[in-house]
Amino acid sequence: MGAGHAHVLYREVPSPVHRLAPEVKIAAMVLFTVAVVATPREALWAFAGYAVLVALVAALARVGAGWLLLRSMIELPFVLFAFALPLLGAGERVEVAGLSLSVDGLYGGWNIVAKGTLGVLASLLLAATTTTRDLIVGLDRLRCPQIVTQIATFMLRYLDVLVGEARRMRVARVSRGDDPRFLWQLRGFAAGVGALFLRAFERGERVYLAMLSRGYSGRMPVVWRGAGAATAGQWLAAATVPVTAVLIAATAVVLT
């Protein structure tokens, strides 16, 4: 997993956030999300505070708002559910623009949109500033069991193998006279899924044996684990965001 193995979401720009050690970023992101989820949904101002935090980090990491919005489309099904909730929910109802809406449902919908969006934005920021290799080194430094980091390493590495092998098989099919268009590709693809799996495995097995013969023992090289580990200063700097979030959440819990 050397150079050139960054994933699609990684933004290659120099920024203070990019330079932070990965374990710091992972810990900060998880803590921030937990604080957001623990916030009572009636405290609307708290969510504005979180949004400001996210915007600050995005500006610091030089990640554009357009990019973030485009990538957060993954959340769309949940947003649609959130809009359905006021109609489906039980309990007290209010009239809004001629529609009878459930108060609990309105809050529920808001809850999902706000917390979901903040969570998605936080993980997108982590993805935009951390390469896959750094992500795994970070998990390793956070004392993730070796078997888990090993599976994750191979997963990310074999994704490329799988995609490459699928492309080769498609080129082979097309060059033999198959002319797949849009949905009709599915049939040819489905028939070849087993073959694809086996071919990818055999290629992956060779990759694995090559790694073994170069001294791979199931762990990241010690050099990676040692070099670039987070300093106390980095922990402190990165802690500002989640600590602020926790303070906001605590205030919101006390006030409501």
């Binding site: 989820v37 949940f78 997963m155 899924v193 087993g194």
Partner: protein, 233 residues
């Protein structure tokens, strides 16, 4: 059916996170024994494969979750229940951390449904069916299809249970409706998942039967033949 942040309340998510952590720790302990030179690359590929097929998402509008292939049965068949559950869990963790698919605070719930319930249901069925059905390629395909189908539907009901325990919005009497919608959609998804699992496992079993964990576990007496690596083509 990645649950997004805010759909289930915090305390229930916390309880399920503790549950998932305990179960995964057990899987790590048992999985270490299983993971040898043959299983390590297979576990990675199974995880990559599951990662790829989970990209096919079908939104279920009325339930607030997306339905997609889970891969628990495939993992249980090819790498065993312990490493299999870890594979699915790793996929979910990476999706939550990097792609924002499924909330980070809801990871415990997602892991419980898809990695633990899905894989466990699949493996129990596999262990049972492989004893009953004839030891033929057809028997293996049927086992793969049925276990994949059932595991997807069972895992989808895990979400209904969690919503009942800690859904953030009271749906009134609609919980049965939610259960029905989830089961119906996941029955369809399960058929697709069953077909993919069956074709994949049947192909692997035909060419490299030594790679199928479920077949290995049933006949431990036969010495595993180590094929010449890379010579199969």
């Amino acid at each position: 059916m990645h649950i997004s942040n805010g759909i289930i309340n915090g305390p229930v998510a916390g309880v399920f996170a503790a549950l998932a952590l305990a179960a995964l720790s057990f899987c790590v302990l048992r999985g270490r024994r299983d993971l040898d030179d043959r299983l390590a690359p297979m576990a990675g590929l199974v995880a990559a494969f599951i990662f790829a097929v989970q990209m096919l998402n079908f939104p279920i509008f009325t339930a607030g979750v997306s339905g997609h292939l889970l891969g628990g049965a495939l993992a249980a068949l090819l790498v065993g229940p312990w490493v299999g559950a870890l594979c699915v869990a790793v996929v979910l963790v990476v999706q939550a951390l990097v792609f924002g698919d499924g909330g980070v605070a809801m990871l415990g719930l997602n892991i419980t449904n898809m990695a633990l319930i899905g894989t466990a249901a699949a493996y129990l069925l596999i262990a049972g069916l492989l004893r009953v059905l004839p030891r033929t390629p057809f028997g293996l395909s049927v086992t793969a299809f049925v276990s994949a189908l059932v595991s997807v539907v069972v895992a989808s009901q895990g979400f209904v249970l969690q919503y009942w325990l800690g859904g953030t919005t009271d749906l009134g009497g609609n919980l049965a409706g939610l259960a029905g919608t989830m089961a119906g959609f996941h029955l369809l998804i399960g058929i697709g998942e069953g077909l993919i699992t069956a074709t994949t496992v049947a192909t692997v079993a035909k060419v490299r039967p030594d790679l199928v964990y479920a077949l290995r576990a049933l006949k431990p007496a036969t010495p595993a033949t180590v094929p010449a690596v890379g010579g199969a083509r």
